[in-house]
Amino acid sequence: MAEGVYLKLVGARLRGQMSYRTSFALQCVAQAINQLAELAIILVLFNRVSALGGFSVAEVVLMYAIAGTAFGIADMVAGQLDELPTYIRTGTFDVLLLRPLGTLAQMMASDLHLRKVGRIVAGVGSMVYALSHNDIQWSGWAVWLVVAAPVSGAVIFSSIWVAANAVCFWVVDGQELANTVTYGSNAFTSYPATVYGPWLRRFFAFVVPGAFVAYYPSLALLGRADPLGGPGFLGWVSPVVAVVAAVVAGVVWRTAVRHYRGTGS
């Protein structure tokens, strides 16, 4: 029964977003340009160097494309959580608590960012390009990786979003810190983990499991050993990491909501 309610909520939101057609179309285009601008930056850099962190342009574009697609999906589903501080400050969150539905699901359904489709389309397009320009040994397993990597990545990014924004229940001004983790991990995952120093890598690759979004799956797809010395199976465990991340994020959210006290406004 609850599913029906969510579908209705999402449907109502989508109709709302479509009501300013020009603006909506422009926002889709802007999202695509945003995503392609990141690609342009990579190409501009490779116009001046032949390798970045030991990887060629096609290899870096592959990582960027997987990361971008995953981030686009996550942003569409979980991006609404950026509004959490406003919900808390204005007391709107209390309204969510009163309804007999999950708070997290309500937050996500309250505004599905359909415009992010532009970003996803650009991400998938770059992925097709990168896959055709890399020397990949095609097999059933490779196809599985191509599908599983962006999907697991999307789950990982969404979990990061949930866990990072849950901080706002404790610190009302926590939004910017949450952004560091969410948008920061997007920036991190678009490039090979080898370009970063040890501290950044420890944090964004393993504390926040960013390396499992694009870096390790790409290595497995390319049939390359990890220059950092990680074992080969790491490329295949992203779905497991995604499930663990989702569980952790769920626990963090529940704990945070239990802790929540209204701001009194």
Binding site: S23, A30, I33, A37, L45, L52, D173, E176, L177
Partner: protein
């Protein structure tokens, strides 16, 4: 004139109220600086690129991190919101020039941002990374260049907001603007890294006047005068355009009851 000075001071005070948000902002800013620096170092570490060595590249990153909140490299929707809600009518019948008043407030905001947004990342960068300080005589020129960058950025944002008079919902235009700025202002990668055929194009946009120009003045990449004159040109163009657009828009506004 006095009114505008008071408005600038009010802008300064208004933004100085949110102290905790500021501290969080600094941490975020430095974290993104570190991420950007790593990628750029992976490239420049292999040998100088377009006159950027390791020190120049690091200075470029920290200046960019500091300037982006001073100059504001994304759309701001405050006026757009007031146009949509109709509150802009109140702003229009006040005894001021709306564009000038908003600019004065933005100058106050930027003045505060210089202290808390520009200072910390630059100091952080200068302490922990190779840093290229310019000769002392360049610093006032750099300040002028930042001022012009702010004028261009404000002019662009004002034009964006003014589109709301026609579009009612300008979020699409805003998003498009932010995407273009990010690529073309020289924040993500120095404009000098672009391929030679693209250089005249990227340098001819107003976006280059918003960030890359002051950074290049600071790094003393050639004489500052070409940068400053291009910035002054764009500042004059976008501010004049904003004035014209506002005049047209005012004639369009319909006050519905009261």
């Amino acid at each position: 004139m006095r009114a505008y000075v008071v408005l600038a001071l009010a802008g300064f005070r208004r933004y100085s109220t949110y102290r905790r948000a500021m501290v969080a902002g600094m941490a975020t800013n430095v974290a993104f600086g570190l991420l950007r620096l790593a990628v750029l170092m992976a490239a420049v570490g292999q040998g100088d690129i377009a006159g950027y060595d390791v020190a120049a590249a690091a200075t470029y990153v920290w200046l960019g991190q500091g300037l982006m909140a001073v100059v504001v490299l994304w759309g701001d929707g405050q006026l757009a919101e007031r146009v949509r809600s109709g509150d802009v009518v109140v702003d229009l019948y006040r005894p001021w020039h709306l564009q000038m008043a908003l600019f004065a407030e933005d100058v106050g905001r930027a003045g505060f941002a210089v202290l808390v947004r520009f200072g910390p990342p630059v100091v952080f960068g200068a302490l922990f990374f190779p840093f290229r300080w310019p000769s002392v005589g360049v610093l006032p020129v750099f300040a002028v260049s930042v001022g012009l960058a702010l004028a261009v950025s404000f002019g662009m944002r004002f034009l964006l907001n003014a589109t709301t008079f026609w579009l009612l919902d300008n979020r699409g235009v805003q998003a498009l603007y932010t995407a273009l700025t990010w690529l073309l202002c020289g924040l993500a990668v120095p404009l000098a890294f672009f391929p030679d055929w693209a250089l005249p194009i990227v340098w001819s946009t107003p976006f280059a006047a918003m960030l890359q120009a002051p950074v290049d003045v600071f790094l003393e990449r050639g004489s500052p005068w070409p940068f400053l004159s291009r910035q002054a040109f764009w500042a004059a163009v976008v501010l004049a355009l904003g004035h014209l657009v506002l005049n047209r828009a005012v004639r369009k506004v319909v006050v519905q009851g009261g």
